[in-house]
Symmetry: C4
C-alpha cells in the first residue's frame, strides 16, 4: 500500500507516492499544531492527494501528538476509506463538504483554537485583520451558527456555505476551519490566524478602540509581500525546530527540510 | 493488602482488585491534573470502590505529582482508614458528605482551580456554559459561601447541600468541587470546566457582553453528543501523552491505555 | 569556614552549622523562586543566622538559578562581609534596615514580581486579600513611593518605615518586599502573594467589582487554619518537585526533605 | 575568512577577529531572544564591526534558534555581502538606513514583539515608561506608520527618520526596532522593553488609569543607576542560563561568560 512506504529509511524522497507525501506532511503539520497549542485532543486536517479523487485524514481516535503517515487513512469524496485501517473523525463531513465545494483548496484544518472561539461568544465584536500577515483574511471571517459537532452531510454543507469563498470561518462556541493551497501553507496560516486573534483580543482587553488594517494598508502590505517565499521560510524554521526537539522523528528530515536552493528568494 | 498489588509488573490487568483499580486510576488522574495545572500543592480526589462501602483517597501530605496506587488509602464513609498508612487530607469531609448525599456520583474532585475561583470574587458575574462541551453544566454551577477549609462534618454537609443535584460547585475564594460517574470522566470534565471558565473570562476581559449557550443550542449539542466515546478518546490522548512524557510510569501502560477495540465508535 | 561545610556529601545533616543551614535553605529557596517566576536576573533573600548577630545573603552578581550554600556570604548588621568572597547585592540596605527594625522577622525577600508591581502603577486600586490564603496580609500592604534602587542607608530606613509592622510592601514601579518567620515560610508566602495578586488582577481585567475577603470571612478562615503544618506540606511538595526536576542537586535531599513524622498533623 | 575562525575550540578568545566577535555575540543574542519569545521565525540583528565600515547580520532564511557565527554575513553599508554565502534578510534596509543615520548606534534589533505591536493598534494609547528600567525610553517611543515589509531604501530611510534620536520605535501592525551601544546592551534593553510593554498592558487591561513614571521619578532612578554594570550582571545571568540549558553550545563559554573581575562593581 503506497501510504505505508513513506518513512522507510533509505528511500529517496522521490520514491514517495503522492499519497505518501500528503500523509507525511499532514502527520507532520498535525504534530506541529499540537506544539503550537492549535490542536490538542481533537481537531484534524484533510489534504488532497494530487492526481487522485481522494484525500488523507487521520484516524479520529489517534493522538494528534503521535501521528505517523503509516497510520493515516486515504478517503474518497463519499467518505469511504480506501486505504488504511480505522475510522476517520466523526466530523468528516466538515472536510468532505468543503473539499467538494472548493476545488481551489488543497488542505482543510478544523481546530478548537481557544482565542478564535472567544470571538463567537461576544456580542458586537468581529474578528478582523489587525496584524500585517492577517491581510490574508481581508475578504472576511464569517461565523457559522451551529455549535454542535458537524457529523451530518447537511451540517457539513451548511458550514461550507458559511465559509463561501473565504479562507477561514469561525464555528459558534466550538472552533474554526481554515483552508489553503497546501498543507504547508495551512500550517503557516494557522500560526498567523492565532497571532491575529491574540492581537485583537489584547487590544480589546486593554479597553481601547481597535485600529484594524485599512484597505490602503492592506494594499501596501500586499505590494511588498511574497507569500510563497514566506511560507518556505517559516516552514523551514518550524520543521527544523520540531526535528531538533524530538517532536518529529529524525528520519522524516530528508522529506521535510527545504534545501538551501529552495530558500533562495 | 489488595491495594498494594496494583502495579506489580507481569500481573495481568484482570488481576487488579476493585480497590487496586480505583487506586491506580485515581493516582494517574491526580498526576494528569497536576500536568494540566488543575492540581498543584493541594486538592484531592475520592473514588468509590465498586462493591465495597468505601473509597480511595490520597494521603494529605503526599505530593500530587508523585502519587502511586500503593500509597493510597482506603477509607470508609465514617472517615476511618481501612487500608494504608497515613492521614487523609484534612478536608476529608468534602468527600465524605458528597459521596453520602450523591449515590449517583463515583468520583469527587476538590481543586483550587485559579480561573474558577475568580468567579467567586466578582460582583454580578455568574459562571455559565459558554463552550459546547460545557453543556454538561447546564443545570447551574452554585457558589458555596464558606471561604475556609472544610474540615468539619457540618461544613462538608453544607457544601453537599450547595452542590445539590449539580455536577460542579464553586467555593468562595477557595476552590471548586466536581463530581462524575467515574474518575476518568471526572478528569475530562475538569479539563472542559477549565476551558469554559477561561472562555468566559476572556470574553469578560475583552469588555464584551458574553453570549452563553442558549437552551436551543444546548439541545442541538446534546443531539450530536456521545459522552462515553468522547471520554474514551480524550482519556487515550492524555494517558498516552503522560506516559510518553514520563508523567506516568511505563508499567502502568497496560492497565490504563484503551485498546483499539475500545476506541471504535 | 562554617559556611563551606554545608553540602559535603556524607555529612549528617546534624553537622550543619547554623550559618550552613541558613545558607543551604536560602540557596534552595532562591532556586525555587526562579522556578516560580518570582526571581529571575535579580532580587535576593536575607536570612538571619540563629545565635549570631548576622545573616546570609547571596553575592549580587551570582545567578539566582545556580546558587550554592558555599557561595553565600555571611554579613553583619553594619553590612560588613564576615565570611565568603564577593560583594552583596547593591540593594543590601533593604535587608539591613528591615532586619534592624523588625526583630520578629527571620527572612526578607526582595523581588521584581511582575503582577505585584502592576498594583503600584494604577490610580485608585489597592492590593487586598482576595484568596483564602491571603488572610496573611489582612493588616494591609503599603506602597513605598521611591522607584529607584535602594542603595543608601536612608533609602532602606524609609522602606522599613513604609513596611512598618506589616508582612509585605510594594515598591513603586520596582518590586516588593516580603518578610516571614523563616525562609521556608517566606517561600510559601511568596507563592500565595503571587496567587492573590493574580486573582485580583483577573477580577479587575474582567471589568467586575472585586469582592475582597470580609473581616468575618478572614476570621472564619483563621479559625480553620494551621499555618505551620501548611508550610511543611507545601515545602515538601516544592522541594521534592525541584529535586526530581534537577532544580536542586540530589545531595541536598537529606537536609531539605521533611520526614513522614514531620508531616503528621 | 576571519568570520569562520570564531568558535574553533582551543582558540584563545583573544584570537577572535573583530568580525568574529561581533558574529559570535550576534548569534548568541539572537538565540537568547528566541528563548525570551522576542524573536521567533523572523526578526534580526545587525551589529557593527569595530574598525571596519561594515556589520554582521544573519542569512534571512536561517533559523533564529540555530544561528552560528560561521553562518553570519559581513555586509557593507551599500548592502553588499563582503563575507559569507547567502542572502541577508529582505528587510536589510531597516539596518542599512538606521546604521547610516545613527553613528552612535552599534547594534539594531528588528522584532515582531507581540506586546509592543499591540500599542500600534489602539486608538489614543501611547507606550510610555512604567517600570523603573524603562527610564531608558524617556525621550519617547515613536510609531512608524508603514505596516508593510521594509524592503526599499526609501522605506528604510523613512523608518530611520521616525526613529530619530530615540532608542526605540514601533512599526504599525508589524514590529519594533531597538538600538543600543552594543549587542549585549541591545539584548538587555529588549528584555526590559518587553517587561515595560507588559506592565502598561496589564494596567490598561485592569481598567485602571496608568501612572507612568514622572520626570522627578526618572531623575531619581537615574541618580541610582549603573547601566554598564547592570548590563554585565544580566548578561552573565542569561548567558549562563542559556549555556546550562543547551541553548548555546558549550564551546562558546570562554568567549561569552564574564569573569568574576568583570562583575565587580
Amino acid at each position: 500500500m503506497a501510504i505505508t512506504q513513506v518513512s522507510r529509511k533509505g528511500d529517496a524522497p522521490a520514491a514517495l507516492s503522492a499519497a505518501g507525501k500528503a500523509a507525511l506532511e499532514t502527520a507532520a503539520v498535525t504534530r506541529l499544531l499540537v506544539e503550537e497549542g492549535i490542536l490538542d485532543y481533537s481537531g484534524h486536517i484533510a489534504t488532497r492527494i494530487p492526481g487522485r479523487d481522494a484525500f488523507v485524514i487521520q484516524i479520529g481516535s489517534n493522538s494528534r501528538a503521535e501521528l505517523t503517515p503509516e497510520a493515516m487513512l486515504v478517503v474518497d469524496h463519499q467518505g469511504e476509506v480506501l486505504e488504511g485501517e480505522g475510522q476517520p473523525p466523526s466530523e468528516l463531513p466538515i472536510h468532505l463538504e468543503i473539499l467538494k465545494s472548493r476545488p481551489d483548496v488543497q488542505a482543510v484544518l478544523h481546530s478548537h483554537m481557544e482565542l478564535a472561539i472567544a470571538f463567537t461568544m461576544m456580542a458586537g465584536v468581529t474578528l478582523v485583520p489587525m496584524r500585517a500577515r492577517a491581510s490574508r483574511w481581508k475578504s472576511g471571517i464569517p461565523t457559522h451558527p451551529d455549535p454542535s459537532h458537524i457529523k451530518l452531510t447537511e451540517q457539513g454543507r451548511d458550514l461550507a456555505k458559511t465559509l463561501g469563498p473565504h479562507h477561514a470561518a469561525l464555528m459558534r462556541a466550538h472552533g474554526i476551519v481554515l483552508v489553503a493551497e497546501s498543507v504547508r501553507a495551512l500550517f503557516i496560516d494557522a500560526v498567523h490566524f492565532k497571532e491575529n486573534a491574540k492581537a485583537l483580543m489584547e487590544v480589546l482587553q486593554a479597553g481601547a478602540k481597535p485600529l484594524p488594517l485599512t484597505e490602503a494598508e492592506i494594499a501596501q502590505i500586499e505590494r511588498m509581500e511574497m507569500r510563497e517565499w514566506h511560507i518556505k521560510k517559516l516552514w523551514s524554521y518550524y520543521i527544523r525546530k520540531a526535528l531538533s526537539e524530538g517532536v518529529l522523528p529524525r528520519d522524516w528530515t530528508d522529506a521535510l527540510v527545504p534545501s538551501k536552493e529552495m530558500l533562495r528568494r
